[in-house]
């Protein structure tokens, strides 16, 4: 007879527990030792910049990286300080974040969700990044935001314009400075009403993915509310290059406005095709035919060249703004790189400063502490006027710019002109707005 307390059932249980422990990703085991994921212990803190370095948005990604590097310089007390000098919060002293030197690692999203998640995961697990930021696509931003929520790090979104990012896919660990489709629509609609009247027939061509759908919904709702009729909403494959077969039906549709819910290469090609087919010279229903590009990007406008002239759209920020903060940022960026920053560069620069400031105010790198510091935070001096990081959905509410393709550009950068600065109050929506329904912010995860 044996006195051993080992039993078959006990061994199985022990084995299962041990196996589960071994199988746990390092991302979770690491946090069991530290107070939170990647708690900085040395004299530096590492940020992860996850941007498209290859693929169709590589130029925007490159501009984002430039701005990130500039922000890191300024945080570490190098350079002229940029918008640190104009930021309403005076917590940041140019000594890194809470005395820890800011270092960074970069990842390549390739504008693909799986690649973006893989590079973010690598930066968190291998490089010890305490925060992930970046992106030039809503699909990518939503995917990485979900990963950061699981991993227990803060995600400071870059260029993502879909309502879903802070709507049905919002996460407690995710924060967005950039504006969204609803805000574009709310800013554009009154301008379009003044320019083109209330009796218009709009035809939508829409990129067939999350961003396109939410922007189409937003613009259609806003224009219909002011009396426009939506003739048709046509989804176009994201991989489309020649839009002629989608433009041709517009000619005989009775529409007198074409709304291009396209971005990037899609926008360049669809706008070029629309202009080629003479839409802008066309008179329909006794009115001049008009084209609207709700989301403009200077980098993309360059690809469309003269075709953007006179065409209205919206943008998060533009280098020609004359407030002190914008001028400081343009000077800092322009002196270092030789050309003005894009809106993508601006938003990621702001996000980096906002993260550093929140950590300093919270006195911790714990994502839950930083989240609390960002929630409901009101600030100014970052180029968009007074801004609120709303606690309920982690969306920034600030002024939105309505812009127009410039008729007589004086340089290769001088492609858009600001027509109107729409005040934040006009683009603010209730937190339970139907376009942002579904999903919950959830609770903060510190890892």
């Amino acid at each position: 007879m044996s006195n051993s307390k080992f039993t078959r059932r006990g061994m199985l249980k022990t084995g299962a527990v041990a196996g589960a422990g071994v199988a746990l990703p390092t991302i979770f085991t690491a946090s069991s030792v530290a107070a939170y994921t990647n708690e900085p212990t040395g004299g530096s803190v590492t940020l992860g910049f996850n941007v498209p370095q290859t693929g169709p948005y590589a130029d925007e990604g490159a501009d984002e990286l430039r701005a990130y590097q500039l922000a890191v310089e300024h945080l570490n007390g190098e350079g002229d300080g940029g918008m640190l000098n104009t930021f309403s919060s005076k917590e940041l002293q140019g000594n890194g974040i809470m005395g820890k030197k800011v270092e960074f690692v970069t990842g390549d999203t390739q504008t693909k969700s799986d690649a973006a998640r893989a590079s973010a995961k690598s930066m968190i697990e291998k490089d010890g990044a305490v925060m992930i930021t970046g992106g030039s696509s809503s699909g990518v931003a939503i995917a990485v935001q979900g990963l950061c929520q699981e991993a227990g790090v803060i995600f400071m979104a870059g260029l993502t314009h879909s309502n879903d990012t802070t709507g049905k896919d919002k996460k407690a660990n995710g924060f967005r400075h950039f504006f969204n489709g609803y805000m574009s629509a709310a800013a554009l609609a009154p301008v379009l009403k003044n320019l083109y009247g209330t009796d218009r027939n709009a035809y939508h061509l829409t990129a067939d993915y999350t961003w396109g759908w939410t922007q189409e919904e937003s613009i259609a709702a806003a224009t219909e509310a002011m009396g426009w009729n939506t003739v048709n909403k046509v989804r176009t494959p994201l991989a489309s290059t020649d839009f002629s077969s989608y433009i041709a039906p517009v000619l005989n549709s009775g529409a007198d406005v074409l709304v291009l819910n396209h971005y990037g290469g899609n926008m360049v090609n669809s706008l070029t095709n629309a202009v080629q087919f003479g839409l802008r010279e066309k008179i329909v229903n006794g009115k001049q035919f008009e084209i609207v590009v709700p989301l403009y990007s200077r980098l993309m406008a360059k690809g469309a060249g003269a075709n953007v002239k006179g065409i209205h759209g919206s943008t998060n920020w533009h280098w020609s703004l004359q407030d002190d903060a914008s001028k400081a940022f343009v000077k800092s960026f322009g002196t270092k790189y030789g050309f003005p920053p894009s809106q993508a560069a601006h938003t990621v620069y702001c996000q980096t400063l906002l993260y550093a400031d929140a950590a300093t105010r919270a006195g911790t790198f714990n994502p839950c502490g930083i989240g609390e510091a960002l929630e409901g935070f009101e600030f100014d001096g970052l180029g968009n006027g007074k801004t609120l990081y709303r606690a309920g959905d982690h969306q920034c509410f600030k002024d939105v710019l309505v812009v127009r393709g410039k008729e007589n550009p004086t340089s290769e950068f001088d492609l858009l002109e600001v027509v109107e600065v729409t005040p934040a109050a006009q683009v603010t929506y209730p937190i339970d707005h139907p376009m942002f329904a579904g999903g919950a912010l959830g609770t903060c995860n510190a890892g």
Binding site: V234, V268, Q276, M300
Partner: protein, 340 residues
């Protein structure tokens, strides 16, 4: 009716690009037996020949205008193209305006050289290797070429407009009392493609060189036994095929602003065109190019999409499956090509 005719025109226009690329692919496959996945990259390089010519013609000297400032508040640096300085603003401006058509002259020797170098430097080492190896190496080459272009020209599309005189619209239906407006440059592209296709067919049909090439395509061994260096001629044909793809790319630039990825966008479709047309069949490639272009355009019509949602994204592949089921060798494929 107007809408249908418009889609026919769109289809012919799309088909022009498909046909030109597929023609080059078929020439290479028919002569050298190589499945060239780098052919889309040749189309892209052709497009960037136009971008390069545009940039060369816009090379400028700089003067400082103290009366204006740049975005940093410094005195504005004004750039004046050398061409305008040498030939006067009007003539110089006209030369710059015609950059795309002028790029044809630049692209032909460049593309022939690129094709020749590609064949001699890499592809000839894979003649006796399986098609899978050829696909892998040429696909890899395509990625290398597009990354090189991205390194030098960036990832964003670059605007390369048509000459002003050819960039408007024309009402093709005016004669028959209909309203069918169509961009002039797209009509130019269609006729240009017909010209190139006609030129290639005439070259193969009416010249001794072409006759030998056709004989070599039919029976390479026998032609070799006659003492003719068929390999050399096939290498030249590779260069010509590269030039055809390049010219298609040059003239395509005003239709869609070129970017480094444009070759890949056309590559898969062009292979489908070749297979549907019949491997190794030049008339088949041209016929299938125009046919699939028209079908793709019709599938994009709202009336069709309302019946079968998403048909615009799959029509070419659906038709390819049907044709290959009914005619396994494609529309005009010959027995023995790509068959054991």
């Amino acid at each position: 009716m107007d809408a249908i005719l418009l889609q026919v025109l769109n289809g012919l226009d799309k088909g022009s690009a498909y046909a030109l690329i597929a023609l080059g692919l078929t020439l290479i496959f028919g002569t050298l037996g190589v499945v060239n996945f780098a052919h889309g990259a040749l189309f892209m390089i052709g497009a960037f020949c136009a971008v390069t010519v545009q940039r060369i013609l816009n090379l400028s000297y700089e003067t400082v205008d103290e009366s204006q400032t740049d975005f940093l508040g410094n005195a504005l640096v004004v750039k004046t193209p050398y061409v305008e300085a040498w030939f006067g603003a009007e003539t110089g401006g006209a030369i710059i305006d015609w950059a795309v058509p002028l790029a044809i002259l630049f692209a032909i020797p460049i593309m022939v050289f690129v094709g020749y170098a590609m064949e001699r430097g890499l592809i000839k080492h894979f003649y006796k290797r399986p098609h899978a190896d050829q696909i892998l190496v040429t696909f890899g080459l395509a990625i290398v070429l597009q990354e090189m272009i991205k390194y030098f020209y960036g990832a964003n599309p670059i605007q390369t407009p048509a000459p002003e005189a050819l960039s408007g619209i024309v009402n093709l239906g005016a004669i028959i009392g209909m309203d069918i407006v169509y961009p002039v440059w797209r009509i130019v592209y269609f006729f240009f493609s017909l010209l190139v296709i006609g030129g290639i067919f005439s070259f193969l049909r009416f010249t001794t060189f072409g006759m030998v090439v056709r004989a070599g395509m039919a029976d390479r061994e026998t032609v070799g036994l006659l003492g003719i260096n068929i390999d050399k001629r096939f290498t030249i044909m590779f260069g010509i095929a590269a030039a055809v793809a390049g010219l298609a790319g040059v003239m395509y630039t005003p239709i869609n602003s070129p970017n480094y990825h444009m070759g890949m966008d056309f590559l898969v479709l062009s292979f489908v065109v070749v297979v549907v047309g019949g491997m190794g069949s030049l008339p088949g490639a041209v016929l299938a190019g125009f046919l699939l272009g028209i079908l793709e355009s019709f599938a994009s019509m709202n009336e069709i999409k309302s019946i079968i949602p998403g048909i615009d994204q799959i029509i070419i592949y659906v038709v390819a499956i049907i044709i290959l089921l009914v005619r396994p060798r494609g529309l005009m494929g010959r027995k023995g090509v790509m068959e054991e």
